[in-house]
């Protein structure tokens, strides 16, 4: 079962490229996946029909007792066969129906994705897994309804469907969680009816689950999304919105019938809502002028009847449920596909324009005739048996059943009328007037309706077949007690037969009087005016208006206000922590290390530089003061015995200044500091001071406590024996915490790629730019070097200097494991060397010296670092475990290789950005 879902997912993932290459023929290949799944489920039929179940479990969240458990019983098998069988035909059909659509591959992918989700839904025994699949069907349904997303109607319908089914899904999740807690298990099969029905939470569970099921299966008053969903292409309507997805709600009710059913409230709600939905759907169906919408509303009717039948819980009722489910899936999918074929062949679906099509489309017409007979409930079709059992099941209920039966006679008579519209009106009689001359459709488009329609006949005429292989096991899975199942066409002269005869008579009368009937119906203007769609639109508008008001309050678009409130909130939370601290935690730090003059000077420089950068208006001053501040930072690090950090800071400062200088040349001067309004300036100063004060207090609290743990000592002790390196900082970076470093260089690489693409296009756009007027100067930088480096003496000095720097960078890289240096520092130094070269001699020259493009260097660096990790993996150890060899007393290991990766990544990222920038700006 898992394999069949996996196969369909696989087909989904190759659908787009396949359709791109093969066009409409891709459907034939893709249909193999659901066909194989269908065959798989067919093979399971003997086992399941004999009362067995197939269970497959995949651990998912064992700690919470949630697993991906699949369980195939009669009900699941019935649904799985419908999903995969009709699915195969639909994939074939869609390939032909949308053959000229440029997103055919996307359509196939959505469709197969839905199929996998739906299959998971009906197979899952675990409630949480079922819910995930449930939501996936909602999402794929959204994508499919909105497939023609350039039409506003499609987008609106898709959103409506998603909001209604998604909202119901939330209720369902809450209901399932309650059910799981009350029932004591997350498996449907382990729930026991008795314990749940008596529980105090039973009403809440029932209400929540029913909301979920009713929204999905379009029951009153949530039915309005389903007719609108007909905006989707016809294969979607045929598959999702009649045969499979809309039945998910009914499926859930059937699945939970053993656990939740049997209470009076269950029966009352299901029968009332179901019958009302059926009647409303049937009445609305007759009013429609579009053939597809007629079918959509009859689908609503059928869903209502299925819900109602589950509510009866009688022997006949449950048999009728299973029979009707199959009968409807067969004839409705066939009719939808046929209507799509009519639309495809004639260019219209308007009933008034159709007529006499049987002469042009005999094959489709034959299929429609069979399906429409089944739809109308005429013998010997499967729909007839469904109708007989339906009446028998209702009559079993007593007085309430008679009333419902009367409603159903009316409803089914209207369904018969609708069937008449589809077949008699469209295919017989006078020639219609069509936008295109009609023609018979191609094989993939008529084979589906034909097979399904014939299926409805075979199951009706040879009903013993369906009974033994499908219906019996399905009914037992739905029922609380064993139900004797026996299907028949002729059961003697029973009340059900009388009701049936009455239905046919009334249906024929309605069909003959259909014009008058429709005129009568449209007289009830008041009823149509208060349509559900209008209420929906108003409701949505209100919600959007409210959301806009709320959002305008918080998302006003002022960065400074956002930052201010964010900062104040952070400070507020920190203050709560400080206030809540005990007296021991609020002591002035005593155990401080003695004053380090150099570090203190660095502090002063860092603060003074930053303060100057914050207040001085000029651009040059900005660069200089910020550089000074960074220098102060480096001094602090150096004086605090952190040479690696200090060198890194120095190199970064150097490059920062280069970047700033290059970008600032193009920016307008900044004259003002802070905000215009003095009040705002005061507020901003207050915000800054508050956070600064809070951070200082937090820092003092931190350092007043003794340093917990011995982690520093562990690194110092293990660096040489474990990491083969004397420079502990470097060993931490490339060995102990190498995974962190891998993530960090990945971030550096990504930032480099993103920044470079923003800093200006590649050399091509640059070349195009030189055609402009003012660009003679900025092209020169790339070719000959900046004019600022015009001095020959300077250039001659730079050449050996950058060469020296390059050598130094390699030395730093090599010795980094034991002495100050390493990949980060080496990469930054090498980048500086190249930049020097690029500034003096032009980017072209620098690129020529490098030979490898920086972006390739970046990629190679990341690959090398990752490969160094894989070595450990190959040896059966954890990813990035160090491996060492000692050829001739030399210690060589994967951490060194990893450091080379770091070196290349940093060098590539920095150069990728800087060379682009110089090309554009120098």
């Amino acid at each position: 079962m898992l394999a069949s879902i996996g196969l369909i997912v696989l087909a989904m993932s190759i659908a787009a490229p396949l359709a791109g290459r093969m066009g409409e023929r891709a459907g034939w290949l893709l249909a193999l996946a659901p066909l194989a799944a269908f065959a798989h489920f067919l093979l399971q039929m003997p086992l399941v029909a004999g009362g067995g179940v197939v269970v497959q479990t995949l651990a998912w969240v064992p700690a919470l007792d949630v697993g991906l458990t699949l369980r195939l019983d009669g009900l699941s098998l019935l649904f799985a066969l419908l999903i995969t069988g009709i699915g195969t035909l639909i994939v074939l059909y869609a390939g032909a129906y949308l053959s000229d659509h440029h997103h055919l591959g996307r359509f196939h992918a959505y469709l197969l994705g839905f199929m996998a989700a739906m299959l998971g839904l009906v197979l899952a025994d675990d409630m949480i897994a079922m819910f995930v699949f449930w939501e996936l069907t909602s999402v794929t349904s959204f994508l499919l309804i909105a497939f023609q997303h350039d039409k506003p109607a499609s987008r609106r319908a898709a959103l409506q469907a998603l909001l209604i089914t998604g909202g119901g899904g939330l209720a369902l999740l809450a209901g399932l969680i309650l059910l799981g807690n009350v029932g004591g298990s997350w498996q449907f099969s382990a729930l026991s009816g008795g314990a749940i029905a008596g529980h105090a939470l039973y009403p809440a569970i029932l209400a929540l689950v029913l909301i979920g099921a009713f929204t999905k299966s379009a029951q009153l008053p949530f039915h309005l999304w389903l007719p609108n969903a007909m905006a989707a292409p016809t294969p979607v309507s045929a598959y999702l919105h009649s045969a499979t997805m809309v039945k998910a709600g009914v499926y859930l009710l059937a699945r939970l019938n053993p656990a939740l059913g049997g209470s009076p409230s269950w029966s009352t709600i299901l029968i009332t809502v179901g019958a009302a939905t059926a009647l409303v759907g049937a009445v609305l169906a007759i009013r429609q002028t579009d053939l597809k919408r007629v079918l959509a509303y009859t689908t609503v009717t059928v869903l209502g009847q299925l819900t109602m039948l589950l509510g009866t819980n009688t022997h006949y009722g449950l048999q009728a449920f299973a029979i009707y489910l199959v009968a409807h899936a067969f004839y409705k999918a066939a009719l939808f596909m046929a209507v799509g074929a009519i639309d495809h062949a004639t260019g219209t679906r308007q009933i008034a324009l159709l007529g006499g099509l049987i002469r042009h489309m005999p094959l489709t017409g034959f299929a429609v005739a069979l399906a429409a007979f089944s739809n109308a409930g005429l013998p010997p079709f499967f729909g007839f048996i469904a109708k007989e059992f339906k009446y028998a099941g209702l009559i079993e209920l007593g007085v309430a059943g008679w009333i419902t039966t009367a409603v159903m006679i009316l409803t089914n008579a209207l369904l018969l009328t609708a069937a008449g519209l589809v077949f008699v009106r469209a295919f017989l009689g006078r020639e219609g007037c069509y936008p295109h001359p009609p023609h018979e459709v191609s094989l993939p488009m008529w084979i589906g309706p034909m097979l399904l329609a014939i299926g409805g006949f075979v199951f009706g005429a040879f009903n013993n077949l369906a009974e033994v292989w499908l219906i019996d096991a399905a009914v037992q899975a739905v029922s609380r007690t064993a139900v004797p199942v026996h299907l028949y066409l002729w059961g003697g002269f029973t009340p059900a037969l009388v009701a049936s005869l009455l239905t046919v008579a009334l249906g024929v009368l309605f069909y003959l009087q259909r014009t008058r009937l429709r005129r009568r119906l449209s007289l009830w203007r008041v009823l149509w005016r208060v349509s559900g769609d209008m209420i929906w639109d108003r409701l949505l508008k209100r919600i959007f208006a409210f959301a806009t008001r709320v959002a305008d309050h918080f998302q006003h678009g002022s960065l400074r206000q956002h930052i201010s409130w964010l900062v104040l909130a952070i400070a507020g939370f920190a203050l709560i922590g400080i206030v809540a601290s005990t007296a021991d935690e609020l002591v002035w730090p005593e155990l401080t290390s003695p004053l380090n003059l150099a570090a203190a000077l660095g502090c002063v420089l860092a603060v003074a530089g930053a303060a100057a950068a914050a207040t001085m208006p000029g651009r040059v001053a900005l660069v200089a003061t910020l550089g000074a501040s960074g220098l102060g930072m480096a001094m602090i690090f150096l004086a605090s015995r952190a040479p690696d950090v200090a060198i890194t800071q120095l190199m970064v400062e150097t490059l920062t200044v280069i970047f700033l200088a290059l970008v600032l040349r193009r920016l307008p001067p900044t004259r003002l500091v802070g905000s215009r309004k003095p009040a705002a300036r005061r507020f901003h100063a207050l915000v800054a001071v508050v956070l600064g004060g809070v951070v200082t207090a937090m820092m003092l609290m931190t350092v007043s406590q003794p340093l917990p743990g011995d982690i520093a000592r562990w690194y110092l002790d293990n660096s040489l024996p474990g990491g083969k390196g004397a420079n502990v900082v470097n060993v931490i970076l490339v060995d102990f915490r190498a995974l962190d470093t891998l993530g960090e260089i990945l971030v550096v690489g990504l930032a480099g790629l993103a920044a470079a693409s923003l800093l200006g296009g590649g050399r091509n756009t640059h070349a195009a730019g030189t055609a402009g007027g003012s660009s003679a100067r900025h092209g020169q930088g790339a070719r000959e070097g900046s004019a600022d480096f015009g001095s020959v003496l300077l250039r001659q000095a730079i050449l050996p200097l950058s060469g020296l720097l390059a050598v130094v960078s390699l030395v730093l890289l090599w010795r980094g494991h034991n002495l100050p240096g390493g990949g980060f520092i080496g990469g930054l130094v090498a980048a500086s060397a190249t930049v020097l070269l690029a500034l003096a001699f032009g980017v072209e020259r620098a690129r020529a010296v490098l030979r490898v493009p920086p972006v390739a260097m970046l990629a190679i660096g990341l690959a090398v670092a990752a490969a160094a990790g894989v070595v450990g993996l190959v040896q059966g150890e954890a990813f990035l475990t160090g491996n060492w060899v000692f050829p001739g007393g030399l210690a060589l290991g994967t951490p060194l290789l990893f450091d080379v990766g770091v070196f290349l990544t940093v060098l590539g990222a920095v150069l990728h950005m800087l060379l682009r920038l110089i090309e554009r700006e120098a």
């Binding site: 506003p152 002022s558 960065l559 930052i563 201010s564 730090p589 401080t592 003695p594 004053l595 380090n596 502090c603 860092a606 603060v607 303060a611 950068a613 914050a614 910020l626 960074g630 602090i636 605090s640 015995r641 040479p643 690696d644 950090v645 890194t648 970064v652 490059l655 700033l660 920016l667 307008p668 900044t670 003002l672 500091v673 802070g674 905000s675 800054a688 956070l691 600064g692 951070v695 200082t696 820092m699 931190t702 350092v703 340093l707 520093a712 002790d717 660096s719 004397a726 420079n727 900082v729 970076l733 470093t741 480099g752 470079a756 923003l758 800093l759 200006g760 402009g772 002495l819 980060f824």
Partner: protein, 167 residues
């Protein structure tokens, strides 16, 4: 020493926030750097500053008063990542100036945020602001190659035009 560093961290953070709240986007970007320096220093000093020797070990073992290597390693990578972030922010700044001809925090929002194509445009028409005027002028220059007819009041129309020819 820790006290001095703690105060330094607080001051750097305060200055960084002040810069983040500046009107000009350039200083906002530089504020990120200052704030980052403050945070780096905070992480660094959380490992305490009582080391007497750098964290280098020999066969004989580590020096008794070696500096704490872990925060050093963390800060080292943080500096490089902070640098990458800074360059990225600078690139965004430069690009938004080229596109909108503006480097003021709140005006960028007004120019850059356009309503979704489906929704009807709000009554307050966007082109009223001088900022988008500059952007429009830049586009005109890019196509026609002439001086902008109405030089925007606020900032660098010439720069905007120069950017326009290159975009």
């Amino acid at each position: 020493m820790e006290i001095i560093v703690s105060v330094t961290v607080g001051l750097l953070v305060a200055i960084g926030i002040w810069m983040l709240l500046d009107r000009g986007l350039l200083r906002v970007v530089l504020g990120i750097v200052v704030l980052g320096n403050g945070v780096n220093l905070a992480v660094f000093s959380a490992g305490r500053l009582d080391g007497r020797a750098a964290a280098f070990v020999t066969e004989a073992g580590a020096p008794a008063l070696a500096a704490n290597p872990l925060p050093q390693a963390l800060v080292l990578t943080a500096i490089v990542i902070g640098f990458a972030l800074f360059v990225f922010a600078l690139a965004v700044l430069k690009r938004s100036f080229e596109l909108h001809g503006n480097v003021e925090t709140d005006r960028i929002t007004a120019v850059a945020e356009k309503p979704a194509p489906d929704l009807p445009a709000p009554a307050a028409a966007q082109p009223a602001t001088p900022a988008s005027g500059a952007a429009a002028a830049a586009t005109t220059t890019a196509t026609a190659g002439t001086k902008p007819a109405s030089p925007p009041a606020a900032l660098g129309a010439g720069k905007g035009a120069a950017a326009g020819t290159r975009t």
